[in-house]
Each structure stands twice: as C-alpha cells, then as structure tokens.
C-alpha cells in the first residue's frame, strides 16, 4: 500500500459527508497528493479500492486536473505564475533568475532532489505579483532578495529534517 492509514481515513471521512461517494474522487486525489507528493496509476488503483469507484474514473479525473504532478518531483515543487498580472511585474525575468539560481531549467529538478521548477497559469495572487507557490504555500510580492531568502530557508529546513 502506498496510501497511509491516516490518508485512507481522511478520504473515507470526507467521502461519508457527500451525498455520493463518487464526489470523494477529488478529495481523495488531494489527500493522496499531499501524502505522496505526486499521483500515478498505482495511486489511482488504491483510491479506486478505497472509494469503490472504477479505476478508470479516477485516472480520467486525475489527468484532467493539472495541479497534481503525475510523476515524482523534488521535495519542493515551485510553481511560478507566468500569467498576465505577474508577467506585467517581471515574472519572465524572475523565472530566468530562478533558473540561474537553482541551476536548472523549467520542468527540471535539482540534483539534490530538493527543488522542481515549473511555471503555471494564474494562481489568484494577482494583486501581489509576481508570486509563486511552493507545495501548499504562497509566496508573494517577490523580489530577488526574497527569493534568495526563501530558497535558503527551505534548504536549511530540508537539512534540518534530514537530520
């Protein structure tokens, strides 16, 4: 089993609140993503078993949504908004800076498996552009300085956790 007891429990608890167990597909995908870090066929199979909805329906729903990576990513998934409001405030140049800073290109993961960098559409942080999301957290009103600090903090945190 990939899914932990606690994840399965969360899925089931949520499922029971809906009038139809099928509605638990998205909550299940979310819970699984938060635990595993990405989604794939094996995860769909397990979800299918937990909520008793055909496997194909899980796969169909999951691949419709772009928020869940469908293969392994680094510990920190950096999603940078490249839509209009952020672009008007330098998101393109920010992306170049971040690639230099991390030493990777868009879509890649750093060698230490810490950071994966991708760009995404509008995240709803337009009035605080440019912005990005790292895992669940939003980072807004970004500047070079802020980015340096954020990356450093995350690295330190990872090291801490690694101990």
């Amino acid at each position: 089993m990939i899914l932990k007891e606690s994840t399965i429990k969360e899925i089931k608890t949520r499922m029971e609140r809906y009038p139809s167990r099928r509605s638990a597909i998205l909550p299940a995908l979310t819970a699984a993503y938060r635990q595993v870090g990405h989604l794939d066929n094996a995860v769909y199979k397990e979800i299918s078993r937990v909520i008793e909805i055909p496997y194909v329906e899980i796969a169909e729903a999951a691949t419709f949504y772009t928020m869940f990576p469908k293969h392994e990513v680094g510990k920190y998934l950096i999603q940078v908004c490249h839509n209009i409001s952020c672009s008007l405030r330098g998101a393109d140049n920010m992306l170049i800076y971040m690639q230099e800073k991390l030493g990777i290109k868009m879509g890649e993961t750093t060698d230490d498996n810490l950071f994966t960098l991708i760009s995404v559409e509008c995240l709803g942080g337009c009035s605080a552009a440019p912005m990005m999301q790292i895992n669940q957290d939003y980072y807004e009103d970004l500047s070079r300085e802020k980015i340096d600090t954020i990356f450093a903090d995350l690295r330190a945190k990872a090291e801490e956790e690694g101990k």
Partner: protein
C-alpha cells in the same frame, strides 16, 4: 440510488407509462411539423427528411452537444443551438440552412481537420467516415492550417501510422479522433464497463484504455462501430477489404438465444465482418463480441470438407455417395432388425428452425421414432422431459423490449451478461433510464451486481430452498394476491424447508433480504422474474421451476413476466417445431394435420435417455447433427461410453470434434451463413437470415443431408426449400403454449444436497465470457480475448490455498481430473470455481456429475 460509478440513477415515475404524449408544432426550414413533446429538433428534422450533420450524437446515447456540428438557427435564441439536444418547443422557428449555420459547420469541420492526418487513402474507415463525408459535402478543400499536426504517440505506439493496440481487437489512432466521446459514453452508459477513458484535457485529450489495461469488455466491438472516424478500428476487419467492395447480407447471431441482428460483410467467398443491424425490439443496435466476431468459424481452415468413414477403426475420407449409402444401409438394417425405437436423433440448438423441423419430420414421420432432442448443452435431462411448471415458464410469451416498462426485475440464477447479451443491455437501460429496480440471486457474484439493489449469493444447489423461502416470506407476510388464507396455508404445507428460517439458513441468505425481495416483488406493478443458465443447469431445476410457478401465481405476475430463458440461437425454434420426445397436444394435432398421418406411439427418449439407452444397447443407431455432447454434456466419461456402445453413429458437423471422433460416418456440415433460414429467439420471435456465402463443394447443409439420407432410404420427404420454409413457419406460428393455471400450485421441495465431504469446492462449468458452445475456438478474434481454458478462482480462496495467478492447479472430482492455470475472478468472493467448457483440449465435463454439478478439490502443482 447510486450506480457503480457513484452517479445518481433516475427514479421511476410509473405514472408516465401509457400516457398519450403531448404534441408540439414547430417550423423547420419553412415547413411545419408536429412531434411528441420531448422530441429534439434533430429528430423532428429527420422526420421531415431534413439532414442535419452530427458527430457526437447517437440515437441511443444521451446527447452531450459536444461536437457542435448540428448547430441550427432558432428564432429568438441569442446564438445557434445544437439540434441534437434542443427540445422542440411550440412555435419554434428553426433554420438549418442559413449562411451563418453553413459557416459554423464549415468552421467545426475545419477545426476537426486541424490535427487530423490526411491519410484517407490508407485509413480503413475511408468510405464510411462521417468526417470524410461531411468534408466532401461542405466542400472544404484548402487548409488554412500551416502548423505541424499534433501526433499522439506513446511508448506503446508501435506503428508508423501512430496506431496503438488498446485491446485484443481494437486499434486506436488518436490522431484521427474527433473527441466525440461516443466510445466512452457507450462503454459507461450502455454497457456499464469501465475499461476505456478520456485523459488529460483540452486539445491534449486522449482516448485510451484504462492506464495499463486493455479494453476487452464483452461489448467492446461497439465502440469501433460507432466511432465516426478511423480512430478506432478492429483487427478483425481492417485492411482486409475496402468497405465499398464488400457485399452485405442480413443475418443473425448464431450463438445465444437473444437473436441479435447482424449484417454480414463478405465477398461470397469469405466473410469479412459482422456489424449490428439495429433492431430496437431486440438489441437497440448494440451487439456483443460473440455476435460480432463469432462468425469467423465459418471461414476456419479447420473446416471439414469431405465425409469420413470409419474403416478398420480409423476414419478415412470417402465420397458423399459412399457415406450416404452406408448411412441408409445401416439405418435400414437397424430399423428392420430391431425396430424404429432403436434409432435416435440429436440436433444442435443453433441449427436453423427449418433444419430442426425437417429433422423432426424425418425421424418421426419417416423413421417412426420419437427419440429425438435438441437439449445437448450442460444440462442433464434425467428421466423427465421437463415438468409442467418448467415447460410453461420456458415457453412463456416474453418480449425483450417490454423490460423497459418493468419496475422490478428479479434475475434468478444467471450470469446475465453472458447468457443474454441483449436482454442484459435492455435491463441496464431500464435501470438507467427508467429507474427499474433489479435484484439478483446467484450461486456466485456476477457483473450484474453493479445494477443490483441486492445481490444474493445462495449456497450451491439450494435454488429450491431459496424459492421456497421466498414463498414462505410471501405467505407469512400476506403479500399474496388472488388466493385466500386457507389456500395460502395449504401452499405453505407444500414447501420444504418448512419455514422461512430454515430455508434462509440452508441457502445462506439472511431472512430479511428474502422478505425484502418478497415485499418489493409484491408491491411492484409490473415485476419480472427471469431465470437463466445457472438455474437451467442446476440438476433440480424442476423443483425450482415449481417454486417459480407458484411464486408467479401468488403474486399474480403476468405470464409474459415469469420466464426461464432459452440458451441457444434456435433452442426455442427446435422446441416449437417439436424436436423433443413429448409434444403438447396442440403441436401433436398440428403435425398430424400437416403430415396426414398419426405420430409414432412409443413414448420416445430425450437426450439423457438416449445416452442411457445406448449404454444399455437399447439404442443402436444415432444421428447427431451439429452438436457435440462428448464435450458439452455433463459427465464426459458417461457420454463417451454411451457413444462407444452405439452400433452406428453418424455425426454431421463443421469440425472434427470429440463427438465426431466416435462416429462411423462423419459428414461435413454447412454453417449458418452458408444457407438461408430462420431462428426463433428467446422471445419466440421468428427471424430470417440470408445466405452470405457458398459452402465449399464438399460441404452440405443439414437440410441437404437429411434429404439425401431420406432419399437413399426411399423415404423421400418431398419438400423443396420454399415449401419447407412455409411449412416450418406455419408450425412455428401455430405453436400454442399451455398457459399458466393460476389456481394451480406445485410442491416445492428442496432435494437432498449431495455429500461431497472430500470435495469442498463447488465447480461451475459454462461458457467463457468470450466464447459460446464449441465452435468459437475457431474464431481468431475471440481467441485473442480468451486463448485457453483456465480455472477461475476468487482471490480470497486463492490466497487461502497459496495460489497465484498463472499457477498450475490440479482439479479433481469423483469423475475426473484436470490441470489448469489459475486466474483470479473479478467477481467471485467465495469457495466457488469456474472452468469454461469451450475448449476441446480440456474435458471439463469429466469433472461434472449428472447428479448435481461438480464438487471438486484443488491442489497447487509444485513446479509450474
């Protein structure tokens, strides 16, 4: 209610039934039309002969308005509307031909062509492609698209044309897909299957099998047929012949009893494919894979092409003359020396009704014997020729399409999808569209569980106890109609087990569930009870049939609504024209009228008695036409010794079989597609099929064979084909069943359940989902779905015994043993096993006793 996919299912509103539909009048392209309320603009236009092009619409699927090809202009609507999903409204003014609409359609076509490869000359769909036709019609010649076309390839795409196999029979070319979702909608909506899906989104949407799996469901061929373009094609047909070069012949599925309508595509020398020939009374235009691919045995290289005669223990080729005169000589000898009662005839349930009738006439009227039967498939008839109750329910006047009006359907003893592909889909439709409630009771879990409100699994061999329990529940709770309390009390004394409690305990189903079913059935306005192959194959089916008869009487269920379903394409036909020892009074009269002669007086023997009698050397000459009891009848060793004992055995068949191996003369028999004729389906519906191709010179039809034997014996039947057709039809039409007597009740007594101490697991034997009878081994497409026999086992039991998938397992019963690979069942949960009996290499029937199915022990083989 929640379906298997968790989506809500509609709730039945019976009050709408039978109401006169309100009419609405609208104007389309300047002409007025009145239609039923609820009709779409598209259907209204079609009624007027106005063609509106479509891609995603299908008459039998819910409209999703996705392709936008059917846009029409509706006055007062702010923008064009989709005709396929817009309901006709009073006073609506619709135009289908404005400049704006033409531009819109051209726009849609241009969009579809953006990424569509221009490979019509090499695409198998060319000539029958909706996209090609529409592009031609709307005259789109020059492309404004200058970008590289999108190609969908993944690691399993092997072919240069980006083809990918997504199922045993299905090739997908995503580049050609117009994303109409018809394939997926059919799969989920109609078939309730979940092996095909749409993934990703937007312009990247792809259609594919469930990740890592195959689309191999029993109805999967339909997705190819409804794909409007060449995105889905099947290996059966593709690249073999261009569609416009093939001829089409009206035909029927030659296997199960539903009578699915098919079109055979051929060039007179060879059959190339079968497609559906929509018949809304039966199949709604959907056919199962057996109907679709099950024609292929006709063109098998293994076909018998010359008669064989046994000489010095070996069958050697012979001429037809030699064979026929030998048969005539030997039959005459037996008849003259030992009497007609020592001759017998057995005919397969998928011979045409004309063949069956002629067979009957030859045996009864010319050879003067009543020893004949058509029931040769995994049911042992024992002493009886069925009972009054059984026969009455078996011949009930059932109509498939009426199931849509059912509010409750109780399916009793049937793996429905397998036994009755068309009825199964009709039931699913009733469930999905009209809110029909379905209940099932079976010896094992089945696929129908997904639409069943309660799937009850009874212990093996306790069918009778189950139905007795149901009757107890009805009487105890006063759910009965039409009888008084005294009568009810009397009926109760005719039941064993004597109480609901005992009955429930014996069959292993909680009382409350039985009572609930009784209640639901009693409260229904239009309930059905349908019994299928598990019911039929159970040894004590007569007792259970008695119970079903009583149940129908207690609840006042209509004659047409309580039925034991026939199994083979022409089982009903053979029954109606009298291929069985005992006849109804009415049929006797009809035959005497026709033949101008009394019928032979001897009581006659059915299959079981014929085999027994040959074992006892009371039957010496047997003619088996198109049947293979050595492989299909229970207790293989018994059948084999019976056949060995015969003085003279003639077998006519398409292939060499376990039965033909025992024959003194083997005759190559024509298949159904090589002759014209008719079948009578499970409803008693007489349906014709046409000859599609000529048989090989060395092959003769059953009718020709019977005629030539008769002629050689100087017993000419004097019936040319036209007259035969007529006479057969007359007999079928004149058939009158004995109606149910509402005041009559039979005893319902559970029989002793046989001891099986050392054999703990119940074995079920029957058709594999993708096979039927003994000929589908010769259909390459079906062999791609299930290439070899297996032992199907529940994952629970497998785990208990340390058996993995693909492990070799020894299966042993009191009568035989077998080694097979294990396969986990998607549905089974308990200690029940299944082995298909469609493969000549395994003698499965050797494991099955005639007393009550098979009880076996199994053991994992150490070395794989």
């Amino acid at each position: 209610m929640q379906g298997r996919n968790g989506l809500p299912v509609c709730v039945k509103n019976m009050s709408d039934n039978g109401k006169e539909k309100e009419q609405v009048t609208l104007t389309i392209d300047g002409k007025e039309i009145s239609v039923d309320k609820g009709t779409t603009v598209l259907d209204a236009a079609t009624l007027m002969g106005i063609h509106i092009p479509t891609f995603c619409w299908h008459p039998k699927l819910d409209s999703i308005g996705a392709c936008r090809m059917c846009l029409v202009d509706v006055e007062k609507f702010p923008k064009p509307a989709v005709a396929c999903a817009t309901e006709a409204m009073p006073g609506m003014i619709v135009r289908t031909d404005t400049d704006e609409i033409v531009k819109a359609r051209r726009g849609v076509l241009e969009f579809m062509l953006l990424n569509h490869p221009l490979d019509c000359p090499t695409c198998d769909k060319g000539g029958e492609c909706d996209l090609q036709d529409n592009v031609f019609h709307y005259g789109i010649d020059k492309s404004r698209q200058a970008f590289t076309r999108r190609r969908v390839i993944d690691d399993q795409t092997t072919d240069a044309f980006d083809d990918k196999r997504i199922g045993p029979e299905i090739i997908r070319n995503m580049n050609r897909c117009v994303t109409c979702y018809k394939c997926i909608r059919f799969n989920k909506e109609i078939a309730g299957e979940y092996d095909l899906g749409a993934y990703e989104r937007g312009n990247h949407t792809v259609i594919d099998a469930a990740p890592g799996e195959q689309i191999d469901n029993f109805y999967s061929g339909n997705v190819v047929e409804i794909c409007p373009v060449g995105a889905l094609t099947n290996t059966d047909w593709r690249y073999k012949i261009r569609n416009w070069k093939a001829k089409q012949t009206l035909s029927l599925c030659s296997h199960d009893a539903d009578g699915q309508n098919i079109m055979l595509w051929h060039d007179q020398r060879q059959l190339w494919r079968a497609t559906s020939r929509r018949n809304d009374d039966i199949d709604d235009g959907w056919i199962c894979n057996i109907a679709r691919y099950g024609y292929q045995y006709i063109n098998s290289p293994d076909r018998l092409k010359t008669p064989l005669i046994k000489k010095e223990g070996k069958q050697v080729p012979a001429s037809w003359d030699e064979a026929i005169s030998l048969i005539s000589k030997r039959f005459k000898e037996i008849k003259d020396s030992k009497g007609s009662v020592c001759l017998a005839g057995l005919i397969g349930g998928n011979q045409s009704v004309e063949t069956a009738y002629l067979f009957n006439k030859f045996f009864r009227n010319k050879l003067h014997t009543n020893n004949l039967d058509y029931r040769l498939e995994y049911i042992d008839l024992k002493g009886s020729d069925e009972t009054e109750a059984y026969n009455c329910l078996y011949r009930a006047p059932f109509t498939i399409a009426d199931l849509e009006q059912a509010d409750v359907v109780f399916v009793f003893g049937s793996n429905f999808i397998k036994d009755h592909p068309a009825i199964n889909l009709r039931l699913r439709k009733a469930y999905r569209k009209f809110g029909t409630k379905v209940y099932t009771a079976n010896p094992v879990e089945t696929k129908s569980a997904d639409i069943s409100l309660d799937e009850m699994i009874y212990s093996p061999d306790t069918e009778t106890a189950f139905i007795a329990g149901l009757i107890h529940a009805i009487i105890d709770n006063k759910y009965y109609k039409n009888i008084d309390e005294t009568k009810a009390a009397e009926v109760k004394t005719m039941l064993a087990p004597a109480t609901l409690d005992e009955a429930a305990r014996l069959c292993g189903i909680e009382q409350e569930r039985i009572v609930n079913l009784a209640k639901v059935l009693s409260e229904a306005n239009n309930p059905y009870i349908l019994a299928g192959d598990y019911f039929v194959a159970s040894a004590k089916r007569h007792r259970t049939a008695n119970g079903m008869y009583d149940l129908a009487n207690l609840l006042g269920i209509k004659d047409s609504n309580a039925i034991i379903l026939a199994s083979q394409a022409n089982s009903m036909g053979a029954d109606r024209v009298g291929v069985r020892p005992r006849l109804t009074e009415n049929l006797k009269k009809t035959l005497i009228d026709k033949w101008g002669e009394e019928l032979p007086e001897s009581p006659g023997s059915n299959t079981s008695q014929i085999l027994n009698n040959s074992l006892d050397e009371e039957i010496d000459g047997l003619f088996i036409l198109g049947a293979n009891p050595a492989m299909r009848y229970p207790d293989g060793p018994f059948v084999n010794s019976a056949l060995d004992k015969l003085d003279f055995l003639v077998v006519a068949d398409l292939f060499e079989t376990a039965t033909s191996a025992k024959a003194d003369v083997v005759l190559p028999l024509a298949g159904w597609a090589e002759q014209s004729g008719a079948y009578v389906n499970v409803e008693g519906r007489y349906q014709k099929f046409e000859k599609a191709q000529d048989a090989d010179k060395g092959i003769k039809s059953g009718i020709e064979i019977i005629h030539s034997i008769a002629r050689a014996m100087d017993l000419s039947l004097n019936l040319d084909n036209a007259a035969l057709m007529h006479e057969t039809k007359d007999i079928v039409d004149a058939f009158e069943r004995e109606a149910r007597d509402e005041a009559k009740f039979f005893e319902v007594k559970q029989a002793q359940i046989p001891e099986h101490d050392n054999y703990p697991y119940r074995l079920l034997v029957g058709n594999d989902i993708h096979h039927f009878g003994y000929v589908t081994e010769h259909c390459p497409s079906l062999m791609r779905f299930t290439p070899e026999p297996y032992l199907e086992i529940s994952p629970n039991l497998a785990e208990k015994l340390g058996i993995d998938e693909e492990t070799l397992v020894r299966i042993e019963s009191t009568t035989g043993k077998l080694v097979l690979k294990a396969r986990f069942s998607e549905y089974f949960e308990g200690d029940v096993l299944f082995i298909p009996n469609n493969f000549s290499a395994t003698e499965v029937t050797g494991l099955v006793s005639r007393e009550g199915g098979g009880w076996v022990k199994i053991e994992k083989l150490d070395d794989k």
